[in-house]
């Protein structure tokens, strides 16, 4: 029977739930047009929770092993909470301007989605996986459509398209996942990962496994399951995309790691070659297709696909080093990518697409924003002294240790290809000439704060990566040996 002790690993998630309810009730309390504070409240709560994670002891297994609280899970919780806080902060002005009456629900959905994210990494049960994924995914689809309208300019320009594309693809992939899981369960008679690992292999089980992995690959947006990514990113409201581009990815990796390295750890050889395929495909397609893009959001979407490929290298290594560096990469990626998208929001507030020209002469319109954008793209490209460099470096190190030296060379070369389009952004920011009607930018404080947070993360983790790396590898260790 479940006891109160079972809740110990879930403290943070429960608190998150309570804060969601708090936001909900405050929303009900607030009169229309006064709801701007909700964003700050959400950000504050999430930040608080983020700090809380450092003090509560959320270790131990619960619900007869269906859920384990480990540093691994905790670190993912932190990443998600930090991302959520930044997302809420960065969204304040956007939400307040464009959907003043739907603010409460916006943050509420954000929080629920976050709950899904924080819950999943600790889950060790297929059912939990499915449910958490849905809890995470459905709100995303709705938030992507949040603008509803179809005006030709603002945030809503492609709202319906972005949302529905995400929704339909995700529904299909959910069905696929479920179908796979049904086989997995059927052939093993259990839904706990440990039990699955123990069961003997059979074609049907293998198929189930493959279908499951396919579904998860959709969540992280690896090639060829990435096709929705650019369209949705371009169409959805930018502050939300900032969140969409990192949160689900992190969670997806947690799930993939659990499925591949725990449930099916008996089949590393076959899965390894599969993951390798995904890695190469993601890096190549993502980078090459980002090259000709003219819309920055779209470009960043494709670059994100490529980044996923790099992160998956850590998964490919499958070692403690690999997972640790994957985790570090994810953490750095959250700061970097969110920062980049938020800068775009600051440039074209409430605009769905951001053509490259809009960045022209940004250094003059707002030097700090320009510098921030430069650092973000440099980090994405993997240039020293911003976090992206270390992230790439460490996953390279991991795969090299795993005996895939050529993959390092390949990855590094493709990173140079990526530099082409990242430098297009840097070019526009520092060498482009701002057109006449582009005035000096004034960034709203909330958004500025969010960008600042990302910037701090990027620079700090880049200048002094040691502590983060240490904790990441410690977390990875706990993933393999939870106690």
């Amino acid at each position: 029977m479940p006891t109160a002790a079972d809740l110990k690993p879930l403290v943070v998630d429960l608190l998150l739930l309570f804060s969601a309810l708090l936001v909900f009730s405050v929303d009900l309390g607030l009169p229309h047009g006064r709801k701007r504070g909700l964003g700050f409240l959400t950000a504050l709560l999430l930040a608080g929770l983020f700090i809380v994670t450092f003090f509560v002891d959320a270790s131990g297994a619960a619900f007869s092993g269906a859920y384990v609280g480990t540093p691994w899970a905790t670190l993912f919780k932190r990443v998600a909470l930090a991302g959520g806080a930044i997302a809420a902060l960065g969204a304040v002005d956007h939400v307040d301007r464009h959907y003043p009456a739907r603010q409460g629900e916006y943050y509420l959905l954000l929080l629920f989605s976050l709950t899904g994210m924080t819950l999943l990494p600790g889950a060790r049960d297929l059912v939990m996986f499915v449910v958490c994924f849905e809890l995470m995914g459905l709100p995303l689809a709705m938030l992507a459509t949040w603008a509803k309208t179809d005006d030709k300019q603002g945030a809503g320009r492609w709202a319906a398209e972005a949302g529905l594309k995400l929704y339909l693809v995700s529904a299909a992939s959910t069905a696929i996942t479920l179908f796979g899981l049904s086989f997995v369960f059927g052939m093993t008679g259990t839904t706990s990962l440990a039990g699955i690992a123990a069961a003997p292999m059979s074609p049907l089980l293998a198929v189930g496994m493959m279908l499951t992995i396919a579904g998860m690959a959709f969540k992280v947006g690896a090639v060829p399951f990435h096709l929705w990514v650019p369209d949705t990113y371009q169409g959805a409201p930018t502050p939300f995309v900032a969140f969409l581009s990192v949160g689900p990815k992190a969670t997806g990796f947690a799930a993939l790691a659990a499925i591949i390295l725990i449930a099916f750890k008996g089949n590393q050889a076959q899965l390894g070659s599969l993951v390798l395929l995904l890695v190469v495909a993601s890096i190549v397609v993502g980078n090459l297709m980002a090259l000709p893009q003219k819309d920055v959001k779209r470009m960043l979407a494709f670059s994100g696909v490529a980044q996923i490929g790099y992160m998956m290298m850590g998964l490919l290594a499958g070692s403690q080093l690999g997972l640790g560096m994957l985790l570090f990469y994810v953490a750095g990626y959250v700061a970097t990518n969110m920062g980049a998208f938020l800068v775009l929001e600051a440039i074209g507030p409430g605009r769905a697409g951001v053509p490259l020209e809009e960045l022209n002469g940004l250094w003059k319109r707002s030097p700090w924003l320009g510098l921030a954008m430069l650092l973000f793209v440099l980090s994405l490209a993997g240039i020293p002294f911003v976090v992206g460099f270390w992230a790439k470096l460490y996953v390279f190190m991991a795969v090299f240790q795993a005996g895939q030296g050529w993959l390092v060379l390949f990855g590094a070369l493709m990173a140079i290809v990526s530099l082409w389009y990242y430098l297009q952004i840097a070019r526009a920011v520092y060498m482009g000439e701002a057109s006449a009607e582009q005035r000096p930018l004034s960034v709203r404080p909330a958004l500025a704060a969010a960008i600042g947070l990302c910037l701090v993360g990027v620079v700090v983790m880049g200048a002094w990566p040691a502590p983060f790396v240490e904790s990441a590898s410690a977390a990875a260790a706990s993933f393999f040996d939870p106690r």
Partner: protein
């Protein structure tokens, strides 16, 4: 023997229904075929001695989902009736190919799996289910309830025509103001 006949009949019916669901021209028919198929699935559940699930199936699906989808069809129809758009044959062929390959893959895997049992094991009582929900799966159960809450809430907010405090897009008309099909907006994805 009888079981086999019954199964074959039901299975055939199911497949036919499924086929009609994905091919019916008229959307209303699609939805109705879907309902029929769901009901037949319930019958299969009964054959698999899962009466509780059968009941749920009938109530939730045929009761809930079906109605919802009918609403959906009604709300989103255009004057030219409920006729779905025709497909180019090439697309149909491609889809068929895909479906066949899916089936081949699954079927292959199923047939290549030797140790599949042929005899059913013991039944499952509703008490067991309830216990399972409240013990080993209680966490998932809670999350599920959250999920449903989220779905409902979000759906309401999204589908609500006119947000309180917002000036609605079209002044509360029951049917949307007929917009002309939007002219193709130039894709901004880059040079063609």
């Amino acid at each position: 023997m009888l079981g086999q006949v019954a199964f074959s009949v039901v299975a055939l019916a199911l497949l036919i229904c499924g086929f009609r669901v994905v091919t019916a021209k008229n959307l209303v028919h699609t939805v109705l075929w879907l309902g029929l198929m769901l009901a037949l699935t319930a019958v299969v559940y009964v054959m698999l001695s899962a009466p509780f699930l059968a009941a749920i199936q009938i109530i939730l699906y045929t009761g809930g989902v079906l109605t919802l989808m009918l609403f959906g069809v009604m709300l989103t129809h255009r004057d030219e009736g409920f006729v779905a758009v025709q497909n180019p044959s090439g697309r149909l062929a491609a889809g068929g190919l895909l479906a066949v390959s899916v089936f081949a893959m699954l079927g292959g895997a199923i047939l290549r799996t030797p140790e599949l049992p042929t005899a059913p094991k013991g039944d499952v009582s509703i008490e067991e289910l309830g216990a399972a929900f409240l013990t080993e799966y209680v966490l998932a159960f809670e999350v599920l309830s959250l999920l449903l809450l989220v779905a409902a809430l979000g759906a309401i907010v999204l589908a609500r025509r006119k947000d309180a405090g917002e000036e609605g897009e079209s002044q509360g008309a029951v049917l949307p103001a007929r917009k002309p099909l939007p002219a193709r907006v130039q894709p901004t994805g880059g040079e063609a």
